[in-house]
Structure formats: structure tokens, C-alpha cells
Symmetry: C2
DNA sequence: TAGTTTTGCTTAATCGTTTAAGCATTTTTT
DNA sequence: AAAAAATGCTTAAACGATTAAGCAAAACTA
């Protein structure tokens, strides 16, 4: 009792952190016994366990994560790399990853690449340096060189990609059905009596954008509409580039009567141009975006868009990681999870009946 | 040479990570020498340093962060807590914190509280558990109990608050001049010939919102306008609550001719109501928001708002942390940095001349 | 030439936790 | 009552990097 008190005072004065050694000293047992007691080892008596927990609480003991991670060769940290956190989609994915992983005792480290390849490489190095147990990532637009991702794999660390992935990289992937989403959009626009549907697509080298382009082409075919190469544009999908591509489309002799834009920011740019030129949306030109960013329901007219189930993507990504973490390195089966998306119809593509804003 | 090769093979086969011990073995020197060589210690010969670096590269050596952190009692990680990452403001602050800290060898761990007090406490525990060297945080709206923040301070870990801080907590703080910002808004509205200016403010218990309210009241006085209690509302500042508060204001016998909303999301809600009721903005009622969220320049009419210099806030927060990290715990002087903000005038409050969208 | 300094390493302890191995007791089984 | 099993610990060696202390050998100084 005296000893215990002296320890209290020592700790509180020196602001030094309590270790299992301190607890061991107070109770006159070995540090090993303390460690086991805290982990509810069956070979430790109930009495000792209770005493250890009591003292731990009194001394305000916090386990040193670094020490246990070092010893166990496991940090219980998972790295997450996203292009930008300031989008609803990524923010929601992250939130769900966190939720699932926290329950299993993992914590996450979020990093953003800002769509820069160099930054992304840096982030990977940082995460490896921090000894994360796994990495869940969505690739930057710029990224085509996969060397750094190979580096993760070669270290034997689970790597799960979502949304922006690559076909060449043989890793787990969670995404939506971009090909089918294009079909949903084209079918919807055809229903609205659109005949000349343009597509402002993303970079062909990126898996998801390529799939959207393929879907666009095939859906046109299925609806017996001709494919006009003039109406298929490749874009960086920024608001600015959306503007430029729209201006270009309006300059054509034979204008489109609908535009499917593969990203909401570019769709916004396109809409601005249409509004400025007093072109009626959707009557003259109908517009559909992709991603369901919050602003799609804030602007005038509201923009139809594809809603990805970000929560589900996050959850699946986290679960996939957990599967890898649990199995002991052997027979890793790869998951390729493709989720369905949903077309949210708003004013920008609805000629028939007024729709409530969503 | 033979030895070196055998090591190569061993490593590559077993996928085990290279340690300084491996490098030491290859070169037949002690691990200590390797460690020093890698840290450019003056007591190690140039020849050895070159050899060590060469072997390190060949064996694909990555230092084990956990081990050095444990030994040095320093993780070189800084925790960042924000209410939500999906806002331009926080995203930009984070980016700048990261930039400054990376240069000094620190990495950051981002966590989001989702405006939940419980989640925020969890985040703090997680960060402490991860042994971060410091925490930079912006408080959740819900948070009034400061016990957890006191916990950080009591551990002797530098704590820096930004944007959402508290007067009661005696820590470093970086923010903007909310009081002056209110003045800028009111002065601007008065110039637009507004006489009855309402304020949809945030929670009074939060420092920043309280300052905005005080600024509003004092600015009215300075402009010799009467303060009408009816026109001063306390709001959660969500879009939904912005709608409700606007509807309430419109129901008054004596309507306002201008509304200053302390948050852009609530301003958006207010604008929606005004648009739905066909009230002309700014002619009938002028509107000003706060935060300069991207959508303020996307909606119709575009919303005037206060732009905070998020980049500067992030940089200052990071620098403040670095100051603490460098000084050896003695004589900690507290920084309270208040930066100026900027009023971006857009269509929603500009009666006189048309303005280009920004 | 003897003494001092500098150079270039090595040795060994340390950070805090975990865990395999071991060793008395006590309890159970035959 | 002897053998076997279970209980409740302890000892000591890790995990990988850092660092104070020390020790030869080389280089310099007087």
C-alpha cells in the first residue's frame, strides 16, 4: 500500500508514463504476469487480474502501442490513400472503412494525393514507413506508373483498391459497375427522346472512365443510335475542362441534344456554359453527370447524376482487408467486387414531369 | 561478395524485412555502425557510409519506424482532428498542415469526428494510443465538455486548436477574426441600403459563433441601426435549419431586408426558401453566408460569403506545433493567432452592379 | 619520442511489450 | 500413494533501432 502510494506520487510528479513494469512493482509480480493479466490469459488467476486492472486504472496506465507493435510485428494501423478528402464520396467511404475497422481494433491513417502522382508515391512511402498492416487506396488521376503499388505488394502488405483501380494490377478491387451505369444513363436519355447523345468522358487509360466509355458506345448500339466520333470527347473532368468541352460541342454544325458527362464537376462547367448561352436544359440539351456530388442538387437546374453507394464500397474494402489480415498469408484469393449504382433523375434531364429536388 | 549475395537471396525469398543487422552482417561491421552511417554521424568514415548506403539500397532497406520511435520516445506523427473532411476549408487546412510538417520529417494522421462528441473522444484516445507527438484539432459542434482535451494537455503533448476553439481551454489557437468579419458584412449590407438586417447565427456557446454574434450586434450599433431581438436567431447551421429559420423570418410582420447567415450550408437553405417563394435576391432580401464553400459560386444567385484563408491557418497551426516540438518543454508561450478574412461579394447581396461569378 | 587528440569503430544497455520455456505448487486421476 | 495434469506464476529472450561509454589504432603535437 505504501509502495503503491509512492509510485502514484512519482508518476504524477514526473509526468512519466506508466508502464507494465510499474504495475508489476506495485503488486510485486513480474511484468510478464501483468501483460498476461491485461490480455486475460487463462493462466493468470482471477484475483491477480482484478488487482492488475485496478492498479492500471489508478496509475492511469496506457499501453505503449509502439512497443507492442514492434514486438508483435503488427501495428494495427491501416493506411488509406484518396485523391481528395473534400468530396462527399471519399469522405463517406473513409467513414465506413473506419467504422468497420475500428470494431476489429484497427485504426486508420488517411492521406490525400491531391491527384498528384508524386504525392501519391510519397504517401505510400509514409505509410510503409509507419508500418501499416494494409493499404486501401483510390488512385490519383495522374497515376499510370504502378511501380509504387507493386512495392506494396512485394512487401507482402495487403493492398485493396477502390473506385479508381487498374486492371493491370492484380489486387483486390471494389467499385461500381461503370459499364452498366452508362447504359442506365443512355437508356434514360433515349426515353427522353434524345437522339444525339454526346459523352464528355474521362481519361481512357483509367479503368473506370474506360468502362464508362465502352458502356456509352455499347448502349448507343443497343438503342440503335449511330456513334458519332465528334460527340465522344476525352477530358480531365475539371469544371474548367467541362466548360471548354461544352463550348466545343456547341460549336459543332450538328449539335447534340443530350450530354452525358463522366464527372459532376465537369457537368457543372457544362451547365454553366449552357445557362450563360441561354440554352434550355433539358428541353434543348439534356445533361447527366456522374458521382452525385452534393452540389448537383443545389444548382439550377438540378443535375441528374449517378449515385455510388459509397458506404457499401467503404465497408467492402474494409472487410476485404480484414479477410487478408486474418488468413495467414497462404492462398490469397483476390476479390473483385462490383456494386450496382443508381441513377438519380433530376431536372437537367427530365423533360416530362417536374421532379422534386433530392 | 558471396555473403552479400546469399543475403540477397535469403531476403527476397523469405519476404522478411531488411534490418540494420542484415546490412551489418553483409559488411562485417556492427549494427551500431550502420545506424550511425545512415544518420551521417561524423565518427563514421566516408568509405563505410557509402558502402552502407549501397547495401541498404540493394537490400531494399526501410527503417523500422516503430523501433526508432520506441527508442527515441518520439513517433514523428502528428494527429489532426476535424469535424468533417468533406469541406473545402478543412481539406485545405489539412493539406497545408501536411506540407509544412512533412518538410520537418513529420507525418500526419487525419481523423474525423463527424461533429460527434463521442467520436471525437474516441479519436483522441486513438491518437494518444498511436503515440503522436502532437495534436492539431478543430472541435466538433457538439463538444462542450473539455475533459478529453485536458487529458491531452496533462500528458504533456502539444495541442493546437484552429477554427473551432474554446476560450476556456488554455491552448494555442489559430483562427480568423470573426468579430471583424461580422463588421465587414454589416457594413457591406448597409452600403446596399439595407436597414433591417437579420442574423442566423450559430450556437452561442461556441467561441467563433459567439464572436460573430457580438460583431453583428456591435456593427449594427456603429451603423446606428436598432437591434431587433426578433432578427437574431440561434441555429445549428445545417441546410435544413437554415430553411426553417428563413421561413420563420419571412413569417414576421416586419420582415428583414437582409440576412447574414453564419454558415454557408444554412445560407443555402435560406436561399432555397427565398427562391421557392419567389422573393427577389438581393432586391427584396439580400443574403450573405460564411465560409466560402465552393457551392456558393455555383448556385443561383451566387452567394456572397466570407473567405477564410485556410492555407494560412493550416500553415500557422503546423508552425505552432513545430515551435513546441523544438523547445524542450520549458517556458511554453501560448500563441493566439487571429488572421483576417475576406468578404467575397457575389450576386446575393449586390444590388448595384452586376458581378462576375468568382 | 612520449603524450595527446582524433578517428572509426564495438559493446552493451535501453525503449515497453510479448511470449516461449520452465518451474514450483496444487489438484486431479488411477 | 504415485503419476499425471492443471494452475499460477517467473525468467529471459526477443522485436529493431539508438546511443552512451569505451577501446584500439592512426595522426598529430611538443
Amino acid at each position: 500500500m505504501l509502495k503503491r502510494l509512492s509510485k502514484y506520487i512519482k508518476k504524477l510528479n514526473k509526468k512519466k508514463k506508466t508502464t507494465i513494469k510499474d504495475i508489476a512493482n506495485v503488486l510485486n509480480i513480474s511484468p510478464a504476469a501483468v501483460s498476461k493479466a491485461l490480455h486475460d490469459d487463462s493462466r493468470i488467476s482471477k484475483k491477480t487480474k482484478i488487482a492488475v486492472r485496478q492498479v492500471a486504472k489508478n496509475l492511469n496506465y496506457q499501453p505503449n502501442h509502439l512497443a507492442s507493435a514492434l514486438r508483435k510485428g503488427k501495428s494495427n494501423l491501416v493506411g488509406v490513400i484518396v485523391p481528395k478528402t473534400n468530396s462527399n464520396f471519399f469522405s463517406s467511404v473513409i467513414q465506413n472503412i473506419e467504422e468497420v475497422l475500428n470494431k476489429e481494433g484497427y485504426n486508420i491513417i488517411i492521406t490525400q494525393s491531391n491527384e498528384s502522382f508524386r504525392k501519391e508515391c510519397n504517401n505510400i512511402d509514409t505509410l510503409l514507413f509507419t508500418q501499416v498492416d494494409g493499404i486501401i487506396a483510390s488512385m490519383a488521376n495522374e497515376t499510370t506508373d504502378l511501380e509504387y503499388y507493386e512495392k506494396i505488394k512485394s512487401k507482402g502488405i495487403p493492398l485493396i483498391l477502390f473506385d479508381r483501380g487498374e486492371n493491370d494490377l492484380n489486387v483486390d478491387y471494389i467499385g461500381i459497375n461503370d459499364y452498366d451505369s452508362s447504359h442506365m444513363i443512355i437508356n434514360h436519355l433515349v426515353e427522353q427522346d434524345c437522339k444525339r447523345i454526346a459523352h464528355i468522358g474521362g481519361y481512357k487509360h483509367t479503368r473506370i472512365f474506360n468502362n464508362r466509355i465502352r458502356g456509352y458506345i455499347d448502349a448507343l448500339k443497343k438503342n440503335k443510335l449511330p456513334l458519332d466520333e465528334e460527340l465522344l470527347l476525352e477530358s480531365s473532368l475539371t469544371t474548367e475542362d467541362g466548360r471548354e468541352k461544352m463550348i466545343h460541342l456547341l460549336s459543332l454544325k450538328n449539335r447534340p441534344d443530350a450530354v452525358y458527362v463522366a464527372g459532376d464537376y465537369a457537368a457543372l462547367g457544362a451547365l454553366q456554359v449552357l445557362n450563360e448561352q441561354n440554352i434550355k436544359v433539358p428541353q434543348d440539351i439534356a445533361l447527366v453527370g456522374f458521382g452525385n456530388e452534393p452540389f448537383t442538387s443545389m444548382v439550377t437546374p438540378t443535375i441528374s447524376s449517378i449515385k455510388q453507394h459509397s458506404g457499401e464500397i467503404g465497408k467492402q474494402a474494409a472487410k476485404t482487408f480484414l479477410e487478408h489480415a486474418k488468413t495467414t498469408d497462404m492462398k490469397q484469393t483476390l476479390n473483385k467486387i462490383i456494386l450496382d449504382a443508381e441513377l438519380i433523375i433530376r431536372d437537367s434531364s427530365n423533360k416530362k414531369s417536374p421532379v422534386k429536388s433530392t
